[in-house]
C-alpha cells in the first residue's frame, strides 16, 4: 500500500509488540504443573498465545497453555445474565480434568465490565483448600508485562500465603524475563541459574525447565532476598515481597551479557548477600578463561573479514533486552548505537531512569532513546536513521522486516513478535549467551 504521510502521535497502534494482561496466562503456564484458567471471551487466550508463543519464536505452549488451556469462552448469555455459573462449572471441572498443582483464574475485559465477583467464586474453592488463585487481567487495564506482575502477586498472596519464619542465607528469588514474551526466556533462565549457582547461590527460578514448580514457589518467602534483573518488570513484585515478607531486594536493571558484565554482576551479588566469595571467584575465573578462548577465535574473523561488517545499529524492543543488548554491543564490541526504541509501554515513572541508564552506556556516542508503541511510527524512525557507510544493523522484531528489506539492512530478531526463527533453548545473556548473540549477528552478516 502506498504511504501518504505521517500523522501526529495518537492512540493508534499498528504492528503490536505486546499482548494484553490476559497474556499472563503464559506466566501461569510457565510454572511447572501450573494451570491457567481464562475467564474471558472465546478468542482472548488464543490471540495472546499467537502473540507471545507462536509468533514469538514458535516456542510452543508447553504443558497447559495453547489448546489445553481451560477458558469460560464467555458468550452472550453470560454478558446478559452474568458468568458466575460458567466459571464455577469450569473451575470445578478443571480441578478434575486438568492434572495440575495450582490453578490461576485470569479475568478479562468482558467479565470485568459486567462486574462479576470472581473473587467470591474463587474464595469458595480456596476455603475448601483447593489451590485456586484469581487475578485481574482486563486488557484495557494493562499489557502482558503488568499482567505478569499482577499474576505473580496474586499467587504470592493467595497461594504462597503468610510466612513469618526464617530466611535461608544464599537463597535468591529470581525475577527476570517475562515468560514467553522474551522469546529466549527458557534459555536465559538456564544460563542465569547456572551463573548464580556457580557463584554459590541457591535460586528459585520459578518458571521454565529449571523450576521446581509449586514447591519452589512455597520457598519464595524463605529466600534471603529478591533479585530483579530487568529495568522495570519485577520491581512491583519485589516491593510487594519486601512489604509482605520483609524481604530485601537487589535491583540490577541491565541484564548481564558478556564476561565483564556477568563477572561484575556476580561480584555485586556476592557483596550484597554477604556470602563468601571464594566459590564465585573460582567460577568467574573458569568462565572468563573459556569466554576469551572463544572471543579470541571470533576476533580473527572480526578483524580481517574483507566483505564488510555492520557498524551502526538500532534496537527496537522491550526495555530489558534493548538496554542489555545496546550496552553489550556498544561497550564490548564497539558498535555504534544510533537509535534505541523501547516498545513495551514502560510505565511513565520508570522512563527517566531508563533513559539515564542508556545515556550512561557511552560517553562517546549520545544515545537517542524513545518510547514508542505504534509500529508505523517506529518503522518510519528506523527507515530514516543515518546508517553511515556500513550495512544497517537492526535488532528488532519481525515487524521491521519490510523496512529492513527496504534499506537493505540485517534484521536480528530480539523482540516480540519473531516469526523468522524457531527458538528452543538459546540465550543471549550471561557468559554463554553473549557468544551465541555474536554467532547470530555475524552469521546474518556473512550470509549477507
Amino acid at each position: 500500500m502506498t504511504e501518504v504521510n505521517q500523522t501526529k502521535k495518537s492512540n493508534t497502534i499498528v504492528h503490536p509488540r505486546y499482548g494484553c494482561a490476559i497474556g499472563a496466562i503464559n506466566t501461569v503456564a510457565a510454572i511447572p504443573r501450573g494451570i491457567p484458567i481464562a475467564n474471558c471471551g472465546p478468542g482472548c487466550a488464543d490471540k495472546q498465545y499467537f502473540m507471545l508463543s507462536f509468533s514469538n519464536g514458535f516456542q510452543g505452549a508447553g504443558y497447559s497453555g495453547g489448546g489445553a488451556l481451560p477458558s469460560t469462552n464467555v458468550g452472550e448469555n453470560e454478558i446478559v445474565f452474568g458468568g458466575h455459573k460458567k466459571l464455577d462449572d469450569l473451575i470445578k471441572s478443571s480441578l478434575k480434568i486438568m492434572d495440575g498443582d495450582i490453578y490461576v483464574v485470569l479475568t478479562g475485559c468482558s467479565i470485568e465490565l459486567i462486574g462479576d465477583d470472581v473473587g467470591a467464586i474463587v474464595k469458595e474453592y480456596q476455603e475448601k483448600g483447593y489451590p485456586v488463585v484469581h487475578a485481574e487481567a482486563a486488557g484495557f487495564k494493562g499489557n502482558n508485562l503488568t499482567g505478569h506482575e499482577n499474576v505473580v502477586k496474586a499467587i504470592i498472596d493467595q497461594y504462597v500465603g503468610e510466612y513469618k519464619g526464617r530466611k535461608k542465607k544464599g537463597l535468591i528469588n529470581l525475577w527476570f524475563d517475562v515468560p514467553y514474551y522474551h522469546a529466549n526466556w527458557r534459555g536465559d533462565s538456564i544460563e542465569l541459574k547456572r551463573v548464580l549457582e556457580g557463584a554459590g547461590f541457591k535460586v528459585n527460578v520459578l518458571f521454565g525447565s529449571e523450576s521446581g514448580g509449586v514447591s519452589e514457589w512455597k520457598e519464595v518467602p524463605k529466600a534471603q532476598f529478591n533479585l530483579v534483573v530487568s529495568p522495570w518488570v519485577g520491581l512491583e513484585i519485589a516491593k510487594h515481597l519486601e512489604t509482605k515478607y520483609k524481604q530485601p531486594f537487589l535491583h540490577v536493571p541491565v541484564i548481564p551479557i558478556g564476561e565483564e558484565a556477568t563477572t561484575e554482576f556476580i561480584r555485586e551479588l556476592v557483596d550484597f548477600a554477604g556470602i563468601d566469595n571464594k566459590k564465585a571467584e573460582a567460577f568467574i575465573s573458569t568462565e572468563a578463561e573459556r569466554y576469551y578462548y572463544f572471543l579470541e577465535h571470533f576476533s580473527e574473523f572480526f578483524s580481517e573479514y574483507w566483505f564488510g561488517l555492520p557498524a551502526r545499529f538500532v534496537t527496537v524492543g522491550d526495555a530489558a533486552y534493548n538496554l542489555a543488548i545496546t550496552k553489550f554491543l556498544t561497550d564490548q564490541i564497539g558498535l555504534i548505537p544510533t537509535k534505541q526504541i523501547i516498545t513495551d509501554n514502560t510505565p511513565e515513572k520508570h522512563r527517566q531512569n531508563i533513559q539515564k541508564l542508556f545515556h550512561d552506556i557511552s560517553d562517546e556516542f549520545p544515545l537517542d532513546v524513545e518510547f514508542i508503541e505504534d509500529g508505523y511510527v517506529i518503522e518510519e524512525k528506523v527507515r530514516n536513521v543515518d546508517y553511515g557507510s556500513s550495512v544497517p544493523l537492526i535488532l528488532g522484531s519481525s515487524w521491521e522486516s519490510d523496512v529492513a528489506k527496504e534499506i537493505k539492512g540485517l534484521l536480528i530478531p530480539i523482540s516480540t513478535p519473531i516469526v523468522s526463527e524457531v527458538v528452543i533453548n538459546r540465550t543471549y545473556v550471561g557468559y554463554h549467551g553473549a557468544l551465541t548473540l555474536l554467532e547470530k549477528i555475524y552469521s546474518e552478516t556473512v550470509r549477507g
Binding site: 501518504v4 495518537s10 494484553c20 490471540k47 509468533s55 489445553a68 492434572d99 475485559c109 534471603q224 530485601p248
Partner: protein
C-alpha cells in the same frame, strides 16, 4: 428448495446458530447427523421450528447439543473478521478495542504474506490498526479515539475503504461504531464499514465470515455491475491458485475473494458469470447474497474434492456457462491422466487409517479425498456443523454427498477445538495420522504418537491433482510417526488419569453428576515453618 433470505438493508447479520441452526457439540455417526440435520426441511422453511431431542419446540431449529461444563480456549468471530477484511491490500481494518484483541496480527501477517506470494502480489506487511483502548475509554467512551484512528489510517495509507470491527469491550460499553462510520464516510468519501463481530456474540467463529461478507456486499460490491462473462468468483482464503488451471478449459478467469483481493476485485464480484468456493461453510453466505441481489448464479454442486465431487462441480459450472458440450471430454481425459498415479498411491497407502479435524464442509471434502486414496476413515471431527447452508440447495448438502458416495463414518463428532476430548476421540478409532486445520489439537495428537498433516494450503486437496498431492504428502507425514513415538514415550499429557480413562468424550454432558463422584485432588498444603536459623534481614538496595 428455497434460497435463504439475506437482507442487505440491515447493517448486521444474524448469527449462524439462529440463521442455520449451527451446532458446536455433538457426537454420533455421519448418517445420523445427515438425518438429524434435515437439510431439505430446513431449506424449505427457515423459520419452521423443529422438534429437538427433548421433544420441545426449539427456537432456531437447533440440533440437540451436548453442553459440556468444561471448555478450552478457542477462537472468536472478531479473529475471523481480522483474518478476512484485515487481509485486503488496499483497505484498512480498524479494531476498536484494547490492544489484546490485536495480539494475533503477527500470525495473520504470516498467512497474508504467504497468500500474497501465492497470488503473485506484492509481498508486504499487513496493516491492521488498533484504537488501543484503555481503562478511561471504558468509562468515558472512545468515539474520539476511533475518529482519530480513522484519520490516521486515511492519512497514512489513503485506503479505498475502512472497516471497523467491534470487540467484546466496545460492545458492552455501547460504542456507536455505526454512527461514527456514517459520519466519517461523509467526511472522507470512502466506504467506512462497521462490523459487529464482538467475540461473545456467536457461539461459533464462522459467523465472522458472514459478517465480513455482509459488509463487503453492502458497501464495496458494485451496485451497477457490467457483466464480465468470463469471470468466476471463487470465495477462498489464502490457498494456492489451482483453480485457474482447473477452470482453463471453460475459459474462466478467477476472481478470488476475500483474502488478498483488492477493493476493485471485491467490487467486481457482482459482475461475475458464476460464484463457487472451495468450502460452502465459508462461501455460502456471499454466494447466495450475490445470487439473490445481482443474479450471479452459484454452483449447483458440492465441492471439488475426489473424483465425483470434482466431476459434479465442473459439470455444474459448465452448465451455467453453457459449455456442457466440452466438459465430459475434459473430465474423461483428466480421469485417465491422474488415475495411474492415484492407483499407485492407493497401493502405498493400503491399510492406513486417517482422521480429519477441520472446519465443517471442508472436512467433508477432505474425507472424500483420503477415502478416494483407499484410506479408512471411521472417525473425524468438524469444529461446528451447519445443518443447512444459506443457498438451501440440496446439491450443496456436502455431508449427505459424502455419506452417499463414500459410506458412513461411525464416529463423526462436532467439537470446537476441544483438546481434552480429542484424546478420547483419537483413542476410540486409533488412526495413523490426522489432517488438521486450526490450532490446539495437533500437539496432543503428536504427544500420543499420531503425526498431523497441518493443511495450511486449503486448496491443496482440490480437484483431480489434489488427490495426488494429498497422497504424496501423506507418505511424508506418516514418516513423522517416529517423532510422535519419541514424544509418546517421554511426554506427559496435562490431563488427569481419570479423564484419560474415560471412553466417552461427552461423558460430562451425558452425566453431569460424574464430576461429584471423582476423587478430590490434592488439597493445598499449608506452609510449614523452616527450622533453619534465621538470616539477618538485609536492607534493600
Amino acid at each position: 428448495m428455497a434460497k435463504r433470505e439475506i437482507d442487505l438493508s440491515l447493517v448486521d447479520v444474524e448469527n449462524r446458530e439462529m440463521r442455520l441452526g449451527s451446532i458446536i457439540s455433538w457426537d454420533g455417526s455421519a448418517e445420523e447427523l445427515v438425518d438429524n440435520s434435515r437439510y431439505e426441511l430446513r431449506s424449505r422453511d427457515k423459520r419452521k421450528s423443529l422438534e429437538g431431542c427433548s421433544g420441545k419446540k426449539e427456537k432456531g431449529c437447533r440440533l440437540c447439543e451436548l453442553n459440556m461444563p468444561f471448555n478450552q480456549q478457542t477462537m472468536c468471530t472478531h479473529s475471523i473478521v481480522g483474518c478476512q477484511v484485515g487481509n485486503i491490500p488496499d483497505c484498512i481494518l480498524i479494531e476498536h478495542s484494547p490492544i489484546g484483541c490485536s495480539a494475533i496480527h503477527a500470525r495473520f501477517n504470516l498467512g497474508y504474506k504467504m497468500g500474497l506470494a501465492r497470488r503473485g502480489k506484492k509481498i508486504e506487511n499487513i496493516q491492521i490498526f488498533s484504537t488501543n483502548l484503555l481503562e478511561n475509554d471504558m468509562v468515558f467512551g472512545a468515539s474520539d479515539k476511533l475518529r482519530q484512528t480513522i484519520l490516521d489510517a486515511h492519512n497514512r495509507f489513503s485506503p479505498k475503504a475502512i472497516f471497523i470491527s467491534m470487540s467484546c469491550s466496545t460492545a458492552i460499553i455501547g460504542e456507536d461504531i455505526e454512527s461514527v462510520a456514517q459520519e466519517m464516510e461523509e467526511e472522507l468519501e470512502i466506504p467506512i464499514i462497521p462490523l459487529f463481530c464482538e467475540g461473545f456474540r456467536s457461539k461459533h467463529w464462522s459467523t465472522g465470515f458472514d459478517i465480513s461478507q455482509h459488509g463487503i456486499m453492502r458497501q464495496i460490491v458494485n451496485k451497477h455491475p457490467q457483466k464480465q462473462e468470463d469471470l468466476i468468483n471463487i470465495i477462498a482464503l489464502w490457498g494456492t491458485d489451482y483453480f485457474t488451471e482447473i477452470l482453463k478449459p471453460l475459459g474462466l478467469r478467477v476472481n478470488y475473494m476475500i483474502d488478498m483481493a483488492s477493493f476493485d476485485e471485491l467490487a467486481q464480484a457482482s459482475e461475475a458469470a458464476v460464484t463457487a468456493t472451495f468450502c460452502h461453510t465459508l462461501g455460502s453466505y456471499m454466494a447466495t447474497a450475490l445470487e439473490n441481489e445481482y443474479g450471479v448464479p452459484q454452483v449447483d454442486a458440492g465441492q471439488p474434492y475426489g473424483f465425483k465431487g470434482t466431476d459434479d462441480w465442473l459439470r455444474s459450472i459448465a452448465k451455467i456457462m453453457g459449455k456442457e458440450d466440452i466438459i465430459e471430454e475434459y473430465i474423461k481425459a483428466e480421469h485417465e491422466r491422474v488415475l495411474p498415479k492415484i492407483e499407485a498411491l492407493r497401493k502405498k497407502l493400503s491399510g492406513i487409517k486417517g482422521f480429519v479435524a477441520t472446519g465443517s464442509s471442508y472436512a467433508h471434502g477432505m474425507i472424500s479425498v483420503i477415502r478416494e486414496l483407499g484410506i479408512e476413515v471411521d472417525g473425524s471431527i468438524v469444529f461446528h456443523h451447519d445443518p443447512v447452508y444459506d443457498s438451501g440447495k440440496s446439491e450443496q448438502d456436502t455431508l449427505k454427498e459424502l455419506v452417499d458416495t463414500y459410506g458412513n463414518i461411525d464416529h463423526f463428532t462436532v467439537s470446537k477445538t476441544q483438546q481434552f476430548q480429542f484424546y478420547n476421540l483419537l483413542n476410540r478409532v486409533n488412526p495413523d495420522f490426522i489432517i488438521i486445520r486450526h490450532n490446539g489439537l495437533a500437539p496432543l495428537a503428536a504427544k500420543i504418537g499420531i503425526p498431523a498433516f497441518a493443511m495450511g494450503d486449503e486448496h491443496f486437496p482440490v480437484g483431480y491433482d489434489g488427490i495426488i498431492r494429498v497422497g504424496e504428502a501423506l507418505i511424508e507425514i506418516l514418516a513423522r510417526k517416529k517423532f510422535g513415538q519419541v514424544l509418546k514415550r517421554h511426554v506427559k499429557l496435562p490431563y488427569t488419569d481419570w479423564w484419560l480413562s474415560q471412553k466417552d468424550p461427552f461423558i460430562l454432558a451425558r452425566n453431569p453428576g460424574i464430576l461429584d463422584e471423582v476423587a478430590e485432588p490434592q488439597l493445598l498444603e499449608s506452609l510449614t515453618e523452616d527450622a533453619s536459623p534465621e538470616t539477618p534481614i538485609i536492607k534493600s538496595a
